[in-house]
Subunit: 610 residues, 2 copies
Amino acid sequence: MSSTEARRSIATVCLSGTLEDKLTAAARAGFDGVEIFENDLVASSWSAKEISEHCADLGLSIDLYQPFRDFEAVPPAVLARNLRRAELKFDVMEQLGADTMLVCSSVSPDAVDDDELAAEQLRLLAERADARGLRIAYEALAWGRFVNTYEHSWRIVRRAAHPALGLCLDSFHILSRGSDPAAIRTIPGEKLFFLQLADAPRLQMDVLQWSRHHRLFPGQGAFDLTTFTGHVLAAGYRGPLSLEVFNDVFRQADPAPAAVDAMRSLLALQESLGVADLPAAPELAGHAFVELAADDVAESELAAALRGLGFAETGHHRSKPVRLWQQGDARILLNRTEPGPSGSASVGAVAVESADPVGSARRAQRLLAPILPRSHRADEADLSAVAAPDGTSVFFCRTGAETGDSWLGDFTVTDEAGPGAGVTGIDHLALTQPFDHFDEAALFYRAVLGLEPEPVTEFAAPFGLVRSRTVASGRVRITLESALLRRGEWAPGVREPQRVAFTTADALASASRMRELGAPLLDIPGNYYDDLDARLAPDPELLTALRQQSVLYDRDEHGELLHFFTVVLGGRVFFEVVQRIGGYAGDGAANSPIRMAAHRRQREARGTSA
Amino acid sequence: MSSTEARRSIATVCLSGTLEDKLTAAARAGFDGVEIFENDLVASSWSAKEISEHCADLGLSIDLYQPFRDFEAVPPAVLARNLRRAELKFDVMEQLGADTMLVCSSVSPDAVDDDELAAEQLRLLAERADARGLRIAYEALAWGRFVNTYEHSWRIVRRAAHPALGLCLDSFHILSRGSDPAAIRTIPGEKLFFLQLADAPRLQMDVLQWSRHHRLFPGQGAFDLTTFTGHVLAAGYRGPLSLEVFNDVFRQADPAPAAVDAMRSLLALQESLGVADLPAAPELAGHAFVELAADDVAESELAAALRGLGFAETGHHRSKPVRLWQQGDARILLNRTEPGPSGSASVGAVAVESADPVGSARRAQRLLAPILPRSHRADEADLSAVAAPDGTSVFFCRTGAETGDSWLGDFTVTDEAGPGAGVTGIDHLALTQPFDHFDEAALFYRAVLGLEPEPVTEFAAPFGLVRSRTVASGRVRITLESALLRRGEWAPGVREPQRVAFTTADALASASRMRELGAPLLDIPGNYYDDLDARLAPDPELLTALRQQSVLYDRDEHGELLHFFTVVLGGRVFFEVVQRIGGYAGDGAANSPIRMAAHRRQREARGTSA
């Protein structure tokens, strides 16, 4: 961390587990401090003193104790009870070594709508805190009974006029209400005691439920946190950037990768603010290759399918059991692995063409992507690779570089001429993500590779809803897919299969040629074409040809898509061939349920015949 | 089905899987008919004709083809396209043998706000339908662009005045908007072409999202479907009662139990309307016993714990490896099973005292609860038992009946006198439910046993949110708990442990006595008592005693709760002892996260020492 960068903190409520689990995960991900959520402390078997010592051992400061609620603007008897409660929490804070207590604006039925009274009682609390070397950060909850905007909380703090009373700003509470954050610049920096950051998707729902269940780390949602945080820093805030994210999925996910995801979100935010010292993301020109890991049974199946799609085996690796299959600029590496359960394949690696592979890897490492150790001979190219959240390897390479620098130099090239079927390159990949890693994956590809995320879409698939998000830049395009809910035993396959989509200039001609070559193409039922006729009324000749070739069709305001699929190969991979006409923007997600039902029938037919 | 009962149908969109899966599940659960959702048909490899034949084989009529959207109040060119689209769907319906098509009110940007035009164009559509022996059911979507109330859709249908045009009423669209359904009675019955039923929890969110993701089967949510359906029947509606439930969880759950759950919801609704011929639920007086299934290792652990809690082994079954442990009216059966992985126990059976065990079982069977075959000797009591959705056996019995009729007659009673520790009976059970079965379980206990469901609550537990709902009646009380999201590998144990809670009149005395007897009680950390002091400020002497005995405390507007726990025994069961003071209503759920964190520490401590 450079000395000009802000400190980075995380609230324990962001992570799953007991307090012990959370602190360990936060420290390992490189956080400087934590906000300790009251419930985590109360359930801990460590005393406040022991927690303080443990945090010190881990190199974590305790930046905030939270939350303390429903304090201000109450009748005298309630005030007396609240002050007693506060003093007992001050005892805890002294033991913790935490100097700032968060006080959320009241939602209590005891409170009254009286700014004067609120200011007076908060001043009293600040005096008590001050006497013990502590301070109070007052925060307007978006659903506070009387105080629910930062402007209102600032009026009360200003009126109270005590040096130990300042504001806590929380991006969710401000941006969820659509408040303009620009006026934050008018607040003196020394009155900004604390900054909590959370992103969120735009949802039309009760703001409390939205806040408690659907917050996200910065860069994963729809809020403009760069502008927001820019205002807070411009006002002179010098405290930590601290994450406070309530999220149902993160609450039950392994805290170790969740803490890394959280830290990555702050690093990317700091970069967008121009206050992080990260190497820029080198330009990516396209997909270099896709590596499929397959045991011998699955490799035969994949090789036969590629031959049917018009590919040729054009090379083999000089020291590893890896074969190169190629057609146009589409390159598939088949990497033979130890035998799996019954012929299993998966996408092992995604390789992108980088203008500066070493620079790409350096940036990835700074953004906490695990660097993969590569075993290679002295005369082989040193491919830079990192692991994506789902375990897929991501290679940065330059196929066109001088021999010796290009990964192609490691291959002995055979001169087999393929039959050809019109494939010119790789259009996109679709990688199914584990349930807990969907938002993390989008942020990973955005921050580490510099890809742009498109909006999240959802569709109803035969075995449950599927969420989909494409991250893309130029000719690199990766679609992330995940079940909306973690699947149980009923759904066939916990994870839907992955796909590699190839580009063609003429889908109907390619499909026809591939059928001649014996490609295992997926049959699409007649009902689909009857419905297509009713919905989009394509030209009757085109409709007949689509139906004959089992080619699917979609249309948007920019253009058209023709596409078709193979059956599932090696249990978890299939190929797609895509023709884009005009500026068609999507991936034909509307047709995914049709494809999924057809794949299910294929699996069942095999299950029956097996 | 008696001849006066309405036919029961279900929309295919309620269930997971392909169309084939859905039809099979609906038929097996006893539905008379189905609504076929367009997407299910389009993805099917069966032609419409084959679907029709398949449904006939399964004894299912096809009551509705749905949905057809965005038809009415459009410019002439769009109308021509829409009529072409409709004629193609009429072709499909002829093949299907379905005579009614659902047309939802338009959300299209092409539509205009003109009731006259809407009526005119719908009349045109009805004429086309009529010419083919079909009819059109027009439905106001709650988010329809111009038509979004049933009163408005009825004005348009009345104005169109065509015998082949009528209304489809959907309880969600009407009740979600807070419309008064009483005016439905003023609509002539012959103009009510179709009735779709869905319940839902009260959520403050966008109505479209609420409808698409969170609908429930009748009786599982907050809508008064009895009154609603009563109005529709009073108007003279004679079509099927048909379920149309979009729910994220049901969409990915096994369709076989989901269809049974759906059918049970309709049977219970019909009972509440007085149009179902079900035997009434006999009165339940309390818990008769709880049977814990345990292998020999776990049985020793449980027996030692029960002895520590003051129980005595007072009998053994005459022909089975089952031992009876008793204290006051609390009875636990330990049923020795084959050895599990490493000493495993679970709640095998829940037994309730029924005024009429045979009547209870007969009702359960009519409500599709699987009757469990019992092996018993000729001279043993024939216990009536059914299986709950999570597989737990539910016994109906009369402990106080004449010997020979009481299950106690099957036991040889020893005269061991237990040490006693103040336990007087069973207060409640908490049964953790599989993720997919939470709503089904609440409906099961309500409909089958006649228990009253309390509101659903949620709390943040260390490894994710937990949803909880108690079903109770008199002294029978069962708390259903489930993770809000299906847990992954991180959370310890896919299912939280189950508990049996005993009643005491003096928790502190019981805890003290049980410690003397060597009960394996759970230690509660000091932080909890510091926080309790700050929050509720109990009398200092009480606080000291609670802290000393690791007894937890809660308070509501009716009274107080003192309670404490054993460690987890046999991997999945623990005991609780509960003292209720005054009218305290809950189960101390606020303390559950504390207990869960303490249980986690216990598991970890064991893991380390093992």
